[in-house]
Symmetry: none
Subunit: 193 residues, 4 copies
């Protein structure tokens, strides 16, 4: 009875399965790590049959990308404090937080490994939208005259965030919280007028 009421809700069984699988995906990645992530485990954890996963997502990679990408989307916040330095530090802080989490690290590893045909949109598109979002910090600073003319916003952002990814993906070192200020300062002394 109770069960039936649940199943009649808008979205019905399909939506429930989708949510359950995505949640289970995140849970398994967080618990087991990317290496031991198995589609079968996800299905079991979601209380769903493995075939249902494959029906919907087709491949393990697509499932991972779908789940992790949407999860990462919620994490991204562009601060607006009125000061470039403060903005960048805050932004970097939150990125450090994300990349230090199992899911954040896993997402980056997935992005590093995955073949492009497992991506919903093109890989370039995906990153562009994020960079565009982040560059508003630079643009606003430029409007305030805080930034040297001719500064390449994208390059600046990459010099800011690439070291974080570098450490997470390749060095596998924990990200120090101080890193945010160090990076931003090193960067600003270069680009500040």
């Amino acid at each position: 009875m109770d069960e039936e009421q649940v199943s009649r809700r808008p979205g019905g069984r399909s939506a429930r399965v989708r949510r359950a699988v995505l949640d289970a995906t995140l849970a398994v990645v967080a618990d087991q790590g990317l290496d031991k992530f198995r589609v079968g485990d996800v299905a079991a954890r979601a209380g769903v049959h493995e075939t249902s996963v494959y029906r919907r997502w087709g491949t393990r990679q697509r499932l991972l990308v779908d789940a992790l990408f949407h999860h990462s989307e919620a994490q991204m916040q562009i601060p607006d404090t009125g000061s470039l330095r403060a903005d960048l530090v805050a932004f970097t802080h939150s990125l450090i937080g994300y990349l230090s989490s199992p899911l954040g690290a896993a997402f980056m590893r997935v992005m590093a490994v995955v073949n492009d045909d497992a991506m919903p949109d093109s890989r370039a598109e995906l990153w562009r939208s994020r960079v565009d979002l982040a560059r508003t910090m630079i643009d606003r600073a430029a409007a305030r005259g805080e930034v040297r003319e001719g500064t390449d916003a994208r390059l600046v952002l990459e010099q800011l965030i690439a070291p974080l990814h570098f450490r997470v993906l390749l060095l596998r070192e924990p990200l120090d919280e101080d890193l945010a200020e160090q990076l931003v300062d090193s960067l600003l002394r270069g680009i500040a007028r």
Copy 2:
């Protein structure tokens, strides 16, 4: 010394097998790409039995790390032109060349994916030795008074090379040759006294 531990007789069967397999590994990675890299293919190409590969390297991953790591070692050159900017540009250029090659890109993907227990020495050790090598450029410049005091050499290097890895691993964009100068200049304006 190291060589002797692996195989007592430099011309012996052992040494031949080792060389043949490592060469074949690089060849297969370059030809087929990392995804289609199969231990069996390597063995066939090396004219060696598959079990011999497993005997020595144990796993596909360890084989990849061994071959790609040693290959990458030969690529690293630290220039000494007398000018920090010229050194860094030259260094970055050669790194761009390496990372643009199939083997370079493959090595970075391997490093991003591989579990630490497939590594011969600790991952930290491995990178430290390279960073130490690279920082001689900075140290020399510091001795010449080209560098602001208090500059963190490691951080600087990471801000220089991380964007390259970032693009190769995550963006999958080709590395523009101009990038070298852009990065170095952006960096120097920050650290130059």
Copy 3:
């Protein structure tokens, strides 16, 4: 009942695979002999993937036991002629026929070699059911007053059939057809004057 547990749908893919593999097993044993029996050959012959065999039977040994055991079951006939001697002779004849066949000999070698944990039921259980079947011959004779009181039916049967197995397994001699009568007579009369 048993069949239903293995595969719910008698005509389904599962059942087809099962039959095909068991048949192929017998065919390969008969053709190639036990030594050259390879799981891969069976799969190929059955038109089935090797993993499907391992999924179901787990090991080469279990597959052999399953196939040969069920095959042997169909061979066992208990005659009822009204005379103990005639019964035993007929029974022994058919056993000689079976043990002289490649499959019969192979089954005995398998039983001699196989570890108990490759057996579906306990080894004791398996033989008991057969002995129980065979002892009906003795029991009927006892009811007819043909047998000395106190005769141990099991022991008698073993003295009848063990020499056949002995020759097949250890001597590797062909079983003479006359052997049936010789054994039965020796058994019935004893050798003491």
Copy 4:
């Protein structure tokens, strides 16, 4: 000094290796069982290099046959009590003892499994010599008039010992000590009323 004296003894190093390996073979079979019998273990236990084993015996099977066969030879005793029944009972007793030991059981399994080309002499020859030895019991009894004329000594012996092998090889049941008398009596008297 002492060492040198030992090594100069007739047979020298070779003979020492041979003995050590054969002893180790028996020990490993007795300890580990036939299934887990590995040539490498034997070599290790004998304090000898694996290659030395292969040099001499060529195959695992030949090593097993050699070691177990010679060991079994020492076990066989033909009693001479003056009474057929007593002789047979004593003989059977000792056979039960042997077959109940790990080495005895293992030897029979080896004989059941081994290909004939691993045998030093022909298989038939090997058994014949033993049967001939055993039949002296019957022959002596015949000379004493204890045995019905026309009795086939070989068949009788097989009916006596085959059940023991049957139980060891196929039933894997422990051999009861009483079995000796039961078998002998059943054999001597027959079961017909």
